[in-house]
């Protein structure tokens, strides 16, 4: 007890030292003034003292749990429940009904942010294909999103093409760009891949900013048509609800397809590629085709949902497609649990809705968001729900599981 106390005191002294220049002092060189803020330092001292207790308590708990897990070798209750097909169908049914009733209960604001979250669900599921399944780290995923959004905005502007025509076109264009990006970097691995994809994302943004005659540059494209429903004129409330339902349909579609993909021949090839590239190639899997298909199929969803994004905001400019977006989408995948569809969905809801609900904290919003990201990673490094590999086993044999 005393040891804990002493340690917490030390930690709090350390943090006082650490934050001292930035928290306690503010200088104004033009007016030759130094402002000392001793009160903030007091808060830092007290805050870090209390937090260090909490930190140690939770870390110790995590350690304990880890031991339990190792000994028991079991999945969490939630995962076991998910294995139970009967429960799964019931849960999905309930969720679907909830999702369908949602816009009728809540107001337009709730619907709007829910649409945003759903957009990110699709983005997360798309990125999950290349990162989660095939293990190809992508830091420029937002580029495909931009491709989709701009293809709708531009085709709508020049040729007056409608939302439903462009929706598949956006997806296919995304696909094409995925292949274009994929080709030169087939040989690269791991983090080299990461930086090239990051560069690709930046290049797309720079091109959109500079090539004004093509993309209207930084001033963006305004007055993009909202999705039409047999030419009906809708006000903002009903069109939001309409887009919400389109989005729900798109999410369900995405889940169905990605789920099927995951257990298909190519999905297994991706997972094999992720686990061990050499062994995978030695088994006769065409590396180039598998990698390219992972990029292309991942990019497809981003392109498609990009079209919807443009239709929802009715205005796009390059400012929406920064590196931070890519980082957020990647965080959704990792935080939710790589390879797990349910995990990615939960991750998207947390990361997109959290800052919205944190609006109450106003200026502390992003601070809390950053801290939450770090904490969630520390206490659940494998993600909220880690992907489970489907296993086929003889009933007579004793269950032998590993965390894949």
């Amino acid at each position: 007890m005393l040891k804990d106390f002493k340690q917490s005191i030390l930690i709090s002294i350390w943090f006082v030292f650490l934050t001292f220049p930035l928290m306690a002092v503010r200088v104004n060189t033009t007016e030759q003034m130094v402002e000392w803020r001793w009160m903030t330092i007091l808060w830092v001292a007290i805050g870090s003292f209390v937090l260090s207790y909490a930190w140690r308590y939770f870390l110790a708990k995590k350690q304990l749990k880890k031991k339990d897990d190792e000994e028991g070798g079991k999945h969490s209750k939630l995962q076991l429940l998910m294995e139970d097909m009967n429960f799964r169908y019931k849960a999905m049914g309930v969720l679907l009904v909830l999702a369908l009733v949602f816009p009728l209960v809540f107001d337009t604001y709730q619907n709007t942010i829910m649409i945003s979250a759903l957009i990110y669900v699709v983005l997360g599921l798309g990125l999950n294909i290349s990162v989660g399944l095939a293990g190809l780290l992508d830091l420029g995923y937002v580029a495909f999103f931009a491709v989709g959004a701009y293809s709708y905005a531009l085709l709508n502007y020049h040729f007056d093409l409608g939302f439903w025509t462009i929706l598949p076109v956006g997806g296919i264009l995304g696909c094409l760009f995925g292949v274009v990006l994929g080709f030169p970097i087939l040989r690269l691995r791991g983090d080299y891949l990461a930086i090239v994809t990051l560069g690709f994302g930046m290049i797309i943004k720079v091109v959109l900013e500079n090539w004004s005659s093509f993309s209207f540059g930084p001033s963006g494209i305004a007055n993009i048509d909202k999705p039409g429903l047999f030419g009906m004129d809708m006000n903002i409330d009903s069109s939001t609800i309409y887009i919400y339902y389109i989005m729900i349909a798109l999410v369900v579609f995405t889940i169905l397809i990605t789920n099927r993909l995951k257990n298909s021949r190519i999905g297994r090839a991706w997972i094999a590629l992720r686990e061990d590239e050499i062994a995978c190639v030695a088994m006769g899997i065409d590396m180039a085709r598998t990698k390219l298909s992972a990029y292309a199929l991942g990019a497809f969803w981003a392109g498609m949902v990009g079209v919807l994004f443009a239709a929802k905001t009715t205005f796009i400019n390059p400012a929406s497609f920064t590196f931070m977006e890519s980082a957020i989408i990647l965080s959704i995948v990792v935080l939710g649990g790589m390879g797990s569809i349910l995990g990615v969905i939960l991750g998207a809801f947390i990361l997109i809705l959290l800052p919205e609900y944190l609006r109450a904290f106003s200026e502390y919003r992003m601070l809390a968001f950053g801290a939450a990201m770090v904490l969630m990673m520390i206490f659940r490094p494998q993600g909220i729900i880690s992907g489970i590999r489907t296993k086929y086993e003889y009933k007579e044999l004793k269950e032998e599981t590993d965390n894949g």
Partner: protein, 371 residues
Amino acid sequence: MKKFTVLLSTAALLLSLATAGFAADTIKLGVAGPHSGDLAPYGIPSMKAAQLVVKKINAAGGVLGKQVELLIQDDQCKPEMATNAATKLVTDGAHVVLGHICSGATKAALGIYNDAKVPVMSPSATNPALTQSGDYPNFFRTIASDDMQARMAVDFTINDLGMKKVAVLHDKGDYGKGFAEFAKKFLEESGKAEVVLFEGVTPGAMDYSSIIQKVRREKAEALIWGGYHPEASKIVAQMKRKRMKAAFVSDDGVKDDSFLKVAGKSAEGAYMTGPRDLSGNALNKAANDEFKAEYGADPGAFFQEGYSAALALLNAIEKAGTTDYDKVVAALRTEYVETPVGKIKFDARGDAEGVGFSVYTVENGAFKELK
């Protein structure tokens, strides 16, 4: 983790319920702009301006006998965040909105306000299309549009300074590139000067030495810069360092006290357009003093415009005697109001009448009005 989110959402729900409970008795002034992220320096001063105005008005009894309540929303200057912020404001029942800051975000959000019949006034969105396209009847602004400024900067460069070779640089941003494109167009139309260089630089890049060498190689006599003050400070400092003599002409994104502070001596002799000098204006000075008393620092970009917009919006409600959209808009278009940027009302398109523009130069570490 799940518990935490549940807790959080319940808290948020309770909070929104609580605010909704008081809804009937207050005038709600929405404030939207970037309050986090890299563009926060341009959004926070307007937000603080609104807070100061509301505090003062509430202390004096409020508007129409009701207290004014602020609803502050962050949009990070991103269109999709702006639409979220706008729907949030509309569902929270904002009667008028001060914002958004960036033209792009403003464009994205305006449709939502328009459908909900909420007048919007931006202190900083200068994109000409916002008022000139006629698409946004609910939009007003307390700042002049880009083309007006560009016209003024170009006229000054070729007529007053008599420069023949001009380089035009911009920050690739919505505002900066818009201004630069107008400047280029006006320069070419005038036939008196040649545009020797038209390029964008990356904002936040470490230095601009290569582009400045390029300006020198093209033998430009003047450099017109479209963009904000942080990059402008770097450019003038590096021009001075490279011993260049070319004149520096820019926009009101540069006419900011931060430019004087950050660029220091290098700022001497730079020209920029900006709202007419109003430091003699009592309200302007009072607003500045209020800010200093409250925060102990100088207000930042668009503070005066934000302050004026808040005053104009609340004044219109007072004059209209109601928060009804049509009456408030009519009041904005007919009733003059004294603000830190002058005595203004708004024309049919939403641009402020009475917001004049002047060319300034920096002399002894202060802005000096030229004409």
